[in-house]
Amino acid sequence: MATNPDKYKRVAYYPGCALEGTGHAYNRSTKVVGKALGLDLVEVKNWNCCGAMEVKNIDPKIQTYLSSRVMSIAANEMGFDTVMAPCNGCYHNLKKAEYDLTNDAKSAEVVDRLSKKAGHETYQAGQVETIHALDWIKDSIGEEGLRERVQNSLKGLKIANYYGCMYTRPRHIFPEKDQGPGSESTSKPHFMDDLLAAAGAENVDFPLKTACCGGAHTLSDSDTSTKLVLNILNAAEASGAEVIATECPTCHSGLEMHQIRAEKRLGRKTSVKIVYFTQLIGLALGLSPRQVGLHENISDSIGFMKSKGIA
């Protein structure tokens, strides 16, 4: 159900570093889907990295500052009240900064000090609402709206929806979740399921929706990440899924990389395809595989989509 049909029609878009590199297919598909749905994305001017997990590990308050700068530009220099971040890491960090600035005076003090020295307005908690690409489509178009626009149903496509860690945990930074009917759940998220079902797909009962892919150590402790990813891939296949739908560039490239690594190092081959949910929605809206960037994925799903009559 579209709860906010007008509010998200035009939002500030924060792609983040990954979407300019390995996650480019996500960037491309998000933009074309927005266009096809009549939603305007205005990129945050001269944005910086949100700090990701790595800066948070060095010092959480520096990460809070980095994220706050992005929100400050969107609010104070561009006049937006909503920032849409498709990357789970960026989304998580902006939400976390919002929480810290609201609840921790020390964080607010550090952010104010750094903002003044850096020469821009200090972000004040509450100036913008940060949303994920899922909220963006779900709240502005909704399942009904999406169903009406489907030109190329994903009928017969069996999908495991994989949300990862950063979209739901820890719960205190997502005050709008777990608010009863219509809201997202932190224990059993369903927004991606809802949208893909509206696009005609068959969602399998996938138990590892919010399991961890080991993205934090994808390179620094690759063996652990490979084991964690293999668990996810195996569980998806055991659930009958042909495709894992992703909503995070780190999860997506982690699944792709460790699918290969599991085969090379552990001799465990899996054939489930890894596709961004925006790519799947794009295909359902009648966009071509190239338009949604399927050729930019490492996991090759073009032939499979063709065999399913989807691409």
Binding site: C17, A18, E20, G21, T22, N46, W47, N48, C49, G51, A52, M53, E54, V55, N57, I58, D59, P60, K61, I62, R69, V110, R113, L114, K117, A118, G119, C165, M166, T168, R169, P170, T186, A211, C212, G214, G215, A216, H217, L219, S220, D221, T224, S225, K227, L228, E256, M257, I260, R261, K264, R265, G293, L294, H295, E296, I298, S299, D300, I302
Partner: protein, 259 residues
Amino acid sequence: MPIHEQSLIRPENLKTHDELVMDGVDVSGHWSTFIESRVVTDYNEAMQDEIAALPGGEHIHRCWQCGSCTNSCTVNAINPDFNPRYWIYLARMGMESELLRDKDIIWQCVSCNKCTYACPRDVVPEGVMKAMSHWLELKGHTPMSPSMHFDEVFADQVIERGKIEESRVMQRFFKRTGQPLFQDWFVEMVKQMLRHLPVGMLARMGLASVLAPSTSGWSRARDAIREYADEQHGKHRRALGLDNLIETAKQDAGAPARS
């Protein structure tokens, strides 16, 4: 203090005898396993405060040892020795030498935040794991972990330029940790990527890795962040008494030798 899934009894201290007669009674066998006692004398009474002084460790004192963190832990599921609850217990008790037995795996926390989600006391165990890893490194108990190398390479680039470029981070990380870039899986990944020849994407990535993206007008933010980071670093070292040690050592070295 309940110890649920981890015993303070070390396996090597469990003594079972195949043939043992005491006071004329045969006590051989498993049923009469003895525990060799040991005495812990090297408590670090400041340990909890030291970890609480590092980012992420602030709320360690709230823990009431329910074990929700370990129960929900992603890494514990693949390595039972990875036990946040137990480590928080040791840190709070000041049992430094016990914690050091696990010093080489504590950095392996994947930050999935399942523990922080489950914790009824808002201890933020994920943060405590990071604080403990920093503590081990600052104290010189462990060399810098691969994870810390990665964090540094990544953070340096963000602070320097405002943005990161993934292939540069990857190259620098592999170089710093002495790994070859062209590992079997990496070669395969590149091969698969080239299959559909995403020309635009490759050109963009190639260009980015040469030019390195940056946020314009970033220098003031960079200087402000660096100044703050240095300040914090000094604060953390003082909280762990590290600079005092160096001062004392310097004074000792400079003092005239006692005859």
